[in-house]
């Protein structure tokens, strides 16, 4: 199956008074039809910026897409006019965000916010759009959807607001849904509800999904493939089972050993990663993880490894083979 989205060598920088922030430093990946790709990383690793870049949601300036292409069904999103991009964004590629309170407009009713994209993108008449909105709210499990339609965002609880966001995103039957930490602000039982809903919607609508998160636990039961980001680079890319069973990048390995487990008895102290993520104000010339990496050797501080394949479908950007500790 050909990929529906192919991103190549994407670089996004920000010009700030302190200097250039190297947020995304040449990442390449693809998304296949109906597949769920997870992007995992800590704050500031560039996971959100890389997704917002392809949808033209980065404010320019201070942001700047330095290079790259993002080909969606044969068209490059990065070189489209604002008008063309507007046809894709919200219609074919939809997005849901972390905090449903700040991403919904507090002074407009839910009805107005859901029907907007139906009217703009599909050209529905207001009544038609309102009927469809009721359907959508019902689909995402909001009780009494007809009445709730004229409510404002503050009248919904956190979990219900996230459902409204999902309803909005699904309004035009997108073929790609980008979810940016949609459950991070929610409690675990509500998180479980939302994940269950998303899995159900994915099956029902057959859309592909990119799920951005910092939580390796959430992704395990949800994704087909995972890519791990660090300091604006993709450091590991693998099929979900391979990543958890056989992680090959020292950072992924360290992240997994820093995670306590609710399903196991405690058998050791947590392994912490010393230091902190690098300052993105310096142009990365060597491996960005080297200063915190227990496997690093001289070469790691000289040359930045590029992402390449270790086995079929499993790529890492590292000079070291973590199984032996020797250079690859």
């Amino acid at each position: 199956m050909p990929p529906i989205l192919e991103v190549t060598n994407l670089k996004t920088h920000f010009n700030t008074p302190e200097g250039i922030v190297y947020a995304v430093n040449g990442i390449s990946y693809h998304l296949k039809e109906g597949e769920t790709l997870a992007v995992v990383g800590e704050s500031g690793c560039g996971k959100s910026v890389s997704m917002m870049s392809i949808l033209g949601l980065i404010p320019i300036p201070p942001g700047k897409i330095v290079s790259g292409s993002a080909v969606y069904w044969g068209k490059d999103l990065l070189h489209m006019s604002e008008k063309e991009l507007g046809q894709v964004r919200g219609k074919e590629i939809a997005m849901i965000f972390q905090d449903p309170m700040t991403s919904l407009n507090p002074v407009l009713t839910v009805k107005r916010q859901i029907t907007e994209s139906l009217q703009v993108h599909i050209g529905m008449k207001p009544n038609q759009a309102a009927d469809r909105a009721v359907q959508l709210l019902e689909m995402v499990g909001i009780p009494d959807p007809k009445r709730r339609l004229s409510d404002y965002p503050h009248q919904f609880s956190g979990g219900m607001r996230q459902r409204v966001m999902i309803a909005m995103a699904l309004a035009c039957n997108p073929s790609v849904l980008i979810a940016d930490e949609p459950t991070t602000a929610l409690d675990v039982t509500i998180q479980a509800q939302i994940i269950e809903l998303v899995i159900q919607m994915r099956q029902q609508l057959g859309m592909a999904m990119i799920w951005i998160t910092h939580d390796l636990g959430v992704v395990a039961g949800l994704a087909d493939r995972v890519m791990v980001m660090y300091a604006g680079f993709i450091v590991e890319k693998a099929v979900v089972d391979d990543l958890y069973v056989d992680p090959r990048h020292p950072y992924t390995l360290a992240l997994l050993s820093a995670l306590p487990r609710a399903d196991r008895r405690r058998d050791r102290r947590l392994k912490s990663i010393p230091g902190a993520p690098p300052n993105l104000l310096a142009e990365p010339k060597s491996c960005p993880f080297a200063p915190r990496c227990e496997y690093s050797f001289e070469h790691c501080r000289v040359e930045n490894p590029i992402l390449n394949s270790v086995v079929d479908g499993h790529e890492i950007a590292c000079w070291v083979d973590v199984r032996t500790g020797a250079a690859r």
Partner: protein, 331 residues
């Protein structure tokens, strides 16, 4: 790590703690029109050198328990004794003496440090308040010791909070809590604002300090995986009450209360195989309002096994197996 010495004597005893916040209406003539029943009768004790975990979802009252038991909020009713002294009856010097022994680490390392103060002023404030060092030079010496204890160093002493990362700020918060040589520390979600790789650093630090200084912790958190890792015993709160309390492995391997079961089955597990096959109890609906909590068992509107009497009778707090307490009619 599991061979931590447990002293058999309780350091903190909480009996039937109740904390209601009044809801008022009117601007000049304020009248009370209702109560937010944030904590509605909570009892537990913490043994010397132990860590008790207090878990639950947002709004269940876990932070209010932590703050009320340190007398940061006045209590509505109940009794809290820390090191055999009743904190809510103490005034003046006596209260100060108890506070010296009972400290808190806050959730948000960005909001809990005064941005205009240097690390030196922040960490030495408890030394000044409790008169633990004679002069500024001695206080600074002690601050350096404390910074080294938490993995920072003398270089950091004259810097301001904004010059530090989240993890380092949390270390400053820990140093401040340790300054008065406490016996007991309430850790109120100390790691939930931090990234995974930094969380492990702070958790390991808290464990090392506990071993070295024989500290007792109340660890308030919503991350159930971390709670299993760090706590000896765990209490689960729902809407202002504790529904289950047990030793960690007992609670995680044999949860008895339907809410605990649902909560544990919702915890994400970083194992694809297990995540796909595990049985989940997905609760419907949201947590009801603590202003007007449900009658009988507070969990009954969302409970998958509720029966008629659950909405009428408040379930008794019972010890089902040794040290495993639960409040449910159906267990």
């Amino acid at each position: 790590m599991n061979d931590r010495i447990s002293f058999s004597e309780p350091l903190v005893v909480v009996e039937n703690l109740v904390k209601h916040f009044p809801i008022t209406q009117g601007i000049i003539l304020q009248r009370v029109v209702g109560q937010v029943k944030a904590v509605d009768g909570v009892s537990f004790s913490i043994m010397k050198g132990d860590t008790l975990g207090l878990v639950g979802e947002s709004g269940c009252g876990k932070t209010t328990v932590g703050r009320t038991l340190l007398s940061l909020y006045p209590l509505t009713s109940g009794r809290v004794t820390i090191d055999n002294r009743e904190i809510h009856k103490a005034r003046g010097r006596e209260l100060l003496a108890i506070r010296r022994k009972a400290q808190i680490i806050f959730q948000d390392p960005y909001a809990s440090l005064n941005p205009r103060w240097t690390v030196n002023s922040i960490v030495s404030e408890p030394l000044r308040v409790h008169g633990l060092r004679q002069n500024a030079r001695e206080r600074s010496q002690r601050v350096v010791e404390l910074l080294e204890l938490v993995g920072l160093n003398a270089r950091h002493i004259n810097r301001f909070p904004h010059e530090f990362s989240g993890g380092q700020r949390q270390r400053i918060g820990v140093a401040r809590a340790l300054a008065s040589e406490p016996l007991f520390i309430v850790c109120d979600e100390p790691i939930s604002a931090l990234d995974v790789s930094i969380q492990a650093q702070v958790v390991n630090l808290l464990e090392d300090l506990q071993d070295r200084l024989e500290l007792t912790y109340l660890f308030i958190a919503h991350d159930l995986s971390m709670v299993r890792h760090i706590c000896d015993r765990v209490a689960v709160m729902y809407l202002g009450v504790i529904v289950e309390l047990a030793d960690r492995n007992d609670l995680y391997e044999n949860p008895l209360h339907p809410y605990t079961q649902a909560l544990l089955s919702a915890v994400p597990i970083p194992d694809p195989q297990k995540s796909r096959t595990r049985q989940r109890v997905i609760l419907t609906g949201d947590v009801p309002s603590p202003i007007n909590p449900p009658s009988g068992c507070r969990f009954h509107p969302r409970c998958p096994i509720a029966r008629a009497h659950c909405s009428e009778l408040v379930p008794e707090w019972r010890e089902i197996t040794p040290n495993h307490w639960v409040a449910c009619h159906e267990v």
